[in-house]
Symmetry: C2
Subunit: 575 residues, 2 copies
């Protein structure tokens, strides 16, 4: 491509409304432009990257044996009513009516459509297993779209859905998808980790997320420092302490803590560490037959955080997890939230393993302005239910049994699920089994956020000058930057010759042939746009028989003999 | 691809709700499935064709110098309000509101979005001309979606938009697009014609449609039998008769024609040919200052049809063309529509050239139940305004001056427009010209109905056994059909060997390796699916050293020596 015939839309200034680096650099490198909140135009430079990502995803999905299909963006409400999601799905589902007043939505995902398609097409176990995927535009009406294409409303997703007659077959395809995702993210040049994940509201038994590791990630991932174990912090198990609890040494005492509500305030006032305290949160229990929801107390060590996902799965707790209104706590327990504690509490109490392991701890006295010290379980308070309800923290033993946990930030770019029969049951998607009997199909689903991959690759690969693309997804592999191309016939001829030769070698080349472009601007642009390889061609070099080469990550330039440059680049670029 | 790992979803019966052959065959060949009215799923077999069409379109657009972009499907109302189309566009524009109650629509076309994008990105004449295209999902809420993907609501379109500072530059790009479209449709293996077209409501000066010729087409195309001239019948000019009018021979007489209203009834009753009669249509004139719309009479020869597009462009006629309500005609003219005529009519009269050329003709008497014979212009009726307001018919002289016209049916698959400044003016899309002065950009736009191309290729290429794909867009180039693959190791080995060799040669091969598949079913399926080349491999042939080959259009099979088959196929398939 000649830059004179291509829209190079680089910006010098960082747009003020872009918070994360990928959003800033995608705007500055002229890859995307905002059309409206959460809606982006992909400019030619950006689209070249997007199409390369799509191509890698498609090639690997085809290799895995999945079949590509294409389902509509606009979906009829009836299918969503069959699955029950027309009611369940919140305002992220953009609903509309057509000219005949029939209700439709824009597809945020396609479980309903594929299940409807396959229940009509596949009738026999002999046609299974089968895995179908599409690469297609999706829409989620995010309440607060942000970070550019990282969390936009319209985006491109690769979604796949597999169908089976046994859980063994589902596991096989799940494993194939796990391996395929590893191949995809490896080819994309990303540092990533598959992590155990919660299955969330989509349902199903077993799930992995694929995370690109980057400080700007919205998720916390727990890793073992001694094994392959990795899990989303939502899911990572906190093992119960393995040592016996220390015996009680102190008597329980009530102390006045006027105006001290938070753990930090109380600790500073009483000169104890947060690890020696417990905090008590009051949440709503499950709805009873008489429609009331009892209060339930959750007790955690002062330095730990509640894991809502773990807590809401416990029997007796309402899902989604809901903190009790302060007024109701005050009315029923006679105390404000700053002085709650497990001693003498007349409601159900669930204690985290780590809190249950404490002796001589500090907690609220259930009396405003007072705390208790020297508290001990059994002697002073009962802990009838002990469970894992906290987030793991750095240094916790790994649940795999090897090493301790570290926490890193990740960006979720892929997710694989064992769905089971959630959709096929609701939508009556059945096949005839070996014995000619109807059997509900078992399903898996597998997603990759294609547009998000582009942004997350930048989050992981940039420097102060701009983006650094991996060769596999770079918009152009090589930039040819001429010095005075318009004035020097020798430079012009060499540029044209190399432009042709390198393209013939299968490389994507950007020839910076714009009239009157300044060298400094061209170099800054190629850096900003992240072109991984750059050669500068000028009269002085040509006279000396050499061409200047610099890799985007290199600290130093190299002089390559003119006659070697094509072979050098063919060997250097990893296509 | 192995058929055992691919969804072959052929149907024996023709689905009853499919009217046209392409819709029937796309369903029967397992290419598409209906999800809801005008919304289709593309199955693996169909998507392979769609992707090949997309690839050819993309390659030729890139070759033309156009730059690929991707704009959102969901578009904000503000942009459509700027262009004025939020009000103008009818219910085909699917409108919706997001969770914050902001109005949006699903893009049926992207003039507004691209104009908004480019007015912000391109500031100088130096960056022009520039041509941007996308291949993307569009939505038009058709009142009556039909013919499968031929007229669906959601469809894929290639739309391109070019920007210029002069009409000469626009004409240059327009010519490049004209040539590019010819290349595209030629590579797609279609018989097509570029035809002059009316620019319609999208505006602009100059326009060509690209039509695939097929009897099922919804458009009538007029061709010269002696030149390249071709035009949509909406646009094709009817030349005025070149001979002088015959002198009057008869006196005008009023005759009773009780119960005879239509031209056919009157002709039969009076024993005259329709060519010797005129018919009079009453339409609404332009709105006057006092908000009333006068009546206007349009007079055509009895055997001719009104061309609404031509008529509504005339001064004094309301656009869109609207027939006057019968009650108003009766009230103001004192006669029903079956007996109208130009004699003594007290409203404006516009006469078509051919009708104005008649002498001694028959027309309604403006008196219910009566007609006039022997009517002559000037002597009996005035024809103050003579214009071209009819559709051309077979045998008319070609407007190009060479030969006469023939009429054929066509399916519109592409359309190129010289838009001019319709959108750039309304949306203030300006650049600085050579003198640093602001200038409104001049635009062109260029569309191809990608999904419709697939259907129209079938309309033009099928027989009683199914689809006949051109090699360039066939889902698979070659089908390998084994006889008793499961029982014969020799057949299995040869099939596998050829499957590998042919794929290595860059050909798309479908190996029909399903267990227990019957030969007859496999042959019928490959014909139905339109696979252009087929080889049958069996023990008997292998023993005789030959493999049976049949091209999809061939009447006879051929025996090809086993050792030649790969080279034979490489030479035969046009990739």
């Amino acid at each position: 491509m000649r830059s004179s015939r291509f829209l190079i839309a680089t910006l010098k200034e960082t747009p003020s409304d872009a918070e994360v680096i990928s959003h800033q650099l995608m705007l500055r490198a002229g890859m995307i432009r905002k059309m409206a909140s959460g809606l982006y135009n992909w400019l030619p430079m950006g689209l070249r990257v997007l199409r390369k990502v799509e191509k890698i995803v498609r090639e690997e999905m085809n290799k895995s044996g999945a079949m590509e299909v294409l389902m509509p963006v606009v979906q009829p409400a009836e299918l969503w009513e069959e699955s029950g999601r027309w009611q369940q799905y919140g305002p992220e589902l953009l609903r509309m009516t057509d000219r005949h007043d029939r209700p439709f939505c824009l597809g945020p995902t396609h479980e309903e459509v594929i299940t409807d398609l396959i229940r009509n097409e596949i009738r026999s176990y002999k046609q299974l297993p089968a895995n179908f995927y599409q690469i297609q535009t999706k829409f989620r009406d995010e309440i607060r779209p942000r970070f550019g294409v990282m969390r936009s409303r319209e985006f491109i997703m690769k979604d796949a859905y597999s169908f089976h007659t046994s859980t063994e077959s589902l596991q096989e395809t799940y494993d194939v998808m796990h391996a395929t995702y590893c191949n995809i993210f490896t080819r994309l040049g990303l540092q990533f980790r598959p992590v155990l994940a919660d299955t969330g509201s989509i349902g199903g038994a077993f799930s992995h997320e694929f995370h690109v590791l980057a400080d700007s990630g919205e998720d916390d991932i727990a890793f073992s420092n001694a094994s392959d174990y990795a899990a989303n912090i939502e899911k990572a198990e906190a093992l119960p302490p393995s040592t016996p609890r220390t015996a009680a040494q102190h008597v329980m005492q009530e102390v006045a803590t006027p105006g001290k509500h938070s753990i930090d305030e109380v600790c500073e006032f009483l000169k104890v560490s947060p690890q020696q305290t417990v905090k008590t949160l009051i949440v709503l229990g499950e709805v009873r037959e008489d429609k009331t929801q009892p209060l339930v107390a959750l007790v955690l060590r002062g330095d730990h955080e509640l894991n809502e996902i773990k807590a809401e799965k416990l029997t007796g707790i309402a899902s989604p997890l809901t903190l009790a209104p302060e007024a109701r706590i005050k009315a029923e327990l006679g105390v404000g939230v700053g002085s709650l504690g497990p001693v003498g509490l007349k409601i159900a109490v669930i204690v985290d393993h780590s809190a249950a392991h404490l002796s001589d701890f500090v907690c609220g006295a259930n009396k405003d302005g007072f705390h208790l010290t020297g508290v001990n379980w059994e002697r002073d308070a009962t802990a009838p239910l002990v469970a894992d309800i906290r987030n793991v923290v750095t240094g916790d033993p790994s649940p795999c049994g090897k090493g301790t946990l570290e926490i890193k930030r990740g960006i979720e770019v892929g997710h694989i699920f064992q769905l089971g029969t959630k959709y096929s049951e609701a939508m009556k998607a059945k096949v005839l089994d070996v014995n000619g009997k109807e059997q509900t199909m078992i399903m898996g689903c597998y997603g990759i956020g294609v547009t998000r991959v582009v942004a997350s690759a930048i989050e992981q690969n940039f420097d102060e000058n701009g983006i650094i693309w991996a060769d596999s997804i770079a918009p152009f592999h090589i930039a040819i930057v001429p010095i005075n191309m318009q004035k020097s016939p020798a430079v012009a001829a060499k540029c044209e010759e190399l432009y042709t030769q390198l393209q013939e070698a299968g490389l994507d080349v950007l020839l910076m042939d714009e009239d009157k472009a300044r060298l400094g601007t061209m170099l800054a642009d190629t850096d900003l746009m992240g072109i991984p390889h750059r050669i500068v061609i000028g009269d002085r070099g040509l006279e000396a028989g050499s061409i200047e080469y610099k890799g985007r990550r290199d600290a130093e330039k190299q002089e390559i003999p003119v006659n070697d440059i094509v072979n050098f680049l063919k060997a250097t670029v990893k296509v």
